[in-house]
């Protein structure tokens, strides 16, 4: 019995030591994140840190446009003082982010959305609602964001202004079946600002009969500017549904961005596809969200995407035929880019 009591006492002591160790460990091993103060200086530091640790194009833009993020900090930190208003702080933070020249970078507040849209605003729009109405008329078919009709010369015309909605397989089957008698197809995605990558893949999968390497994707693995995962191949698989077998022309302008930019990248790899119009706007980083101490939301590019040659498409994709709207055609009610596509398909 004495021996048993000794064992019991030893076990009791061991358990007590375990409990003490638990408490000590938990009290001393807190996993926490530095919280910047909710002040103009604190918000600027928090924003600079978010971009420094999470933004995926700092190295690329250092090379492409000479961006020096440390120098940006020095320059903008001096513009902030404790007495400035929210609006003034917003202007400084927006100016700092505009150095990135990225349409996927935004600040969202209750009174304004900070943005840098020079990739589109500094160039001719090359699209006109007036002309689009003329080509589409009023009796066009409309299905889940896809507006389409057959033009006079038996060419199918599809106007698709956004990838924001999930494209249904049935929508594409019905549209392509309806347009099947046409001798060619025009897909007009001018000023399509993007949306869902999966929609871009679903649509593009109708234009290939075999698996195609269309690009690469990777993500950050750490806080360093060069901490990236290996590039993973993006393979476009042919749709197991109605697939288009005739020539296709995709119309682009500087407003083609993000998922729409990806769609152009995919289509460039597909056979019988020609890109006509202006260079796309780019936007080759899948955006993530974060926030500042004052509550403003931040959006930034987090996962870089590349073309099949491992080149970034962040600053856009060149068309096969560079064509812009002309004033003469506009006054005659002609869309120069659509007419060029019709010529290509009519040959």
């Amino acid at each position: 019995m004495t021996h048993r009591h000794a064992i019991t006492r030893t076990m009791g002591k061991a358990a007590a030591m375990l409990l003490a160790a638990c408490c000590t460990w938990c009290l001393t091993a807190c996993i926490d994140e530095e919280q910047f103060p909710d002040s103009p200086q604190g918000n600027l530091e928090a924003l600079w840190r978010i971009i420094d640790e999470h933004y995926c194009f700092l190295d690329y833009k250092k090379e492409a446009i000479g961006l020096d993020w440390d120098e940006v900090h020095t320059r903008y930190a001096s513009r902030v003082d404790e007495g400035m208003s929210r609006t003034q702080l917003f202007e400084v933070l927006c100016a700092m982010l505009s150095e990135l020249r990225d349409g996927h970078v935004n600040i969202y507040t209750s009174f304004d959305t900070g943005r840098e849209w020079s990739w589109s605003e500094d160039y001719p729009s090359n699209v006109s609602d007036t002309l689009l109405r003329k080509y589409l008329g009023t009796d066009y078919k409309m299905s889940n964001g896809l507006n389409y009709r057959v033009l006079d010369d038996n060419i199918g015309y599809v106007r698709y202004p956004s990838f924001a909605n999930e494209i249904g397989s049935g929508n594409l089957d019905d549209m392509l079946t309806f347009l099947a008698p046409c001798r060619g197809l025009i897909i007009d995605i001018r000023s399509n600002g993007g949306g869902m990558l999966t929609s871009a893949e679903t649509f593009a999968a109708r234009f290939t009969n075999e698996e195609l390497l269309v690009g690469y994707i990777q993500h950050k693995t750490g806080k360093g500017h060069s901490d990236f995962s290996p590039m993973e191949k993006q393979i476009l698989k042919p749709a197991k549904a109605v697939r288009w077998q005739k020539p296709v022309v995709v119309l682009t302008n500087r407003g083609v961005f993000s998922a729409a930019n990806e769609f152009v990248k995919y289509m460039k790899c597909c056979p019988k596809v020609t890109i006509v119009g202006d260079r796309t706007g780019g936007g080759a980083g899948m955006p993530f969200s974060s926030q500042l101490p004052c509550g403003w939301s931040i959006r930034f590019s987090a996962c870089p995407i590349y073309d099949r040659d491992k080149n970034s498409t962040e600053f856009g994709i060149e068309p096969d035929h560079h064509v812009g709207l002309t004033d003469a055609d506009f006054h005659r009610g002609r869309d120069t880019i659509i007419e060029h596509a019709r010529q290509l398909l009519g040959k």
């Binding site: 375990l18 840190r49 993500h219 693995t221 995962s229 899948m286």
Partner: protein, 277 residues
């Protein structure tokens, strides 16, 4: 035989069969023995939640949490090891310091522990020491994010679990104070890589260190509770404090969920008898 005779015969047969069955059952019950003492407690925990997940936001979110806990201890006389099974379901709602963002969390946890009881001293103390395994499944949702709006919580952990119980008398009734603690030492958890999107993981199937081994060095976590059981109105009530501190720093991402909650519940004790066949 007439129809009436047939009915009467059938009735006699059925009555005899029922009587045989009843007697057999009674005999079987007579031969049964009590095999398990079960202490089952159902509790509600209401308290504060402190949430951080740097995949979603660098900001800490603070708010409230409500948790349902089903706590069962099965003692099998003669067995060295006793079972403890805990089911927990929790919902947390928290705001950032600017009160401009909202984080919602839901988590289910299953704990299974095998513990060996000791009765040191005067017999009023009971110490249970053993090991536990737990399984966690839940989600953390940030209402303001776009491509990274949620974080899947999926993990399994192994570690020691201990409990100390002391019985004492107050107001002429028996009260029990209990302190229990769990410390995960080895586990496996799901986590996206630092800047990896769920699109890459679940749509494309590009995995990158998404199953991470956890130890006290990268995930120092602990759950403990101090409770008092007391009889009132023919019911044994339990009140106490629950502290649950779950932390991890994996794939360069930090997460923590600290809960401090008030426990309130009732205790049922019963014996489960096994019938011999």
């Amino acid at each position: 035989m007439t129809t009436t005779d047939k009915r009467a015969t059938l009735l006699r047969i059925l009555t005899t069969a029922l009587a045989v069955c009843f007697c057999t059952t009674m005999m079987a019950q007579d031969e049964s023995t009590p095999t398990k003492k079960v202490t089952h407690t159902e509790m509600v925990a209401i308290g504060s939640a402190d949430l951080l997940d740097t995949y979603l936001s660098p900001e800490k979110y603070k708010g409230s949490e409500m948790r349902y806990i089903s706590h069962t201890i099965r003692d099998i006389p003669g067995d060295r090891w006793q079972q403890q099974i805990i089911h927990q379901g929790s919902i947390a709602m928290a705001d950032d310091r600017a009160e401009d963002g909202n984080l919602m969390g839901g988590l289910y946890t299953l704990d299974y522990a095998l513990q060996r009881p000791f009765h040191p001293g005067d017999g009023q103390w009971e110490l249970r020491v053993g090991g536990m395994a737990n399984f966690n499944l839940g989600v953390l949702y940030n209402s303001r994010n776009q491509n990274n709006p949620a974080q899947l919580k999926l993990s399994m952990q192994l570690g020691p679990a201990a409990a100390v119980t002391r019985a004492f008398h107050l107001f002429g009734k028996e009260w029990r104070a209990r302190y229990e603690v769990e410390l995960p030492l080895l586990g496996l958890m799901f986590c996206p890589n630092y800047g990896q999107s769920y699109y890459e993981i679940f749509t494309r199937g590009d995995y990158d260190h998404n199953a991470v081994v956890t130890t006290p060095f990268n995930a120092p976590s602990m759950r403990h509770a101090l409770t008092i059981d007391f009889p009132l109105w023919k019911v044994t009530w339990r009140v106490g404090y629950l502290g649950d501190y779950q932390q991890a720093e994996v794939n360069n991402l930090k997460q923590h969920a600290y809960t401090h909650a008030l426990l309130l519940g009732w205790v049922k004790k019963f014996k489960v008898t096994r019938t011999r066949k």
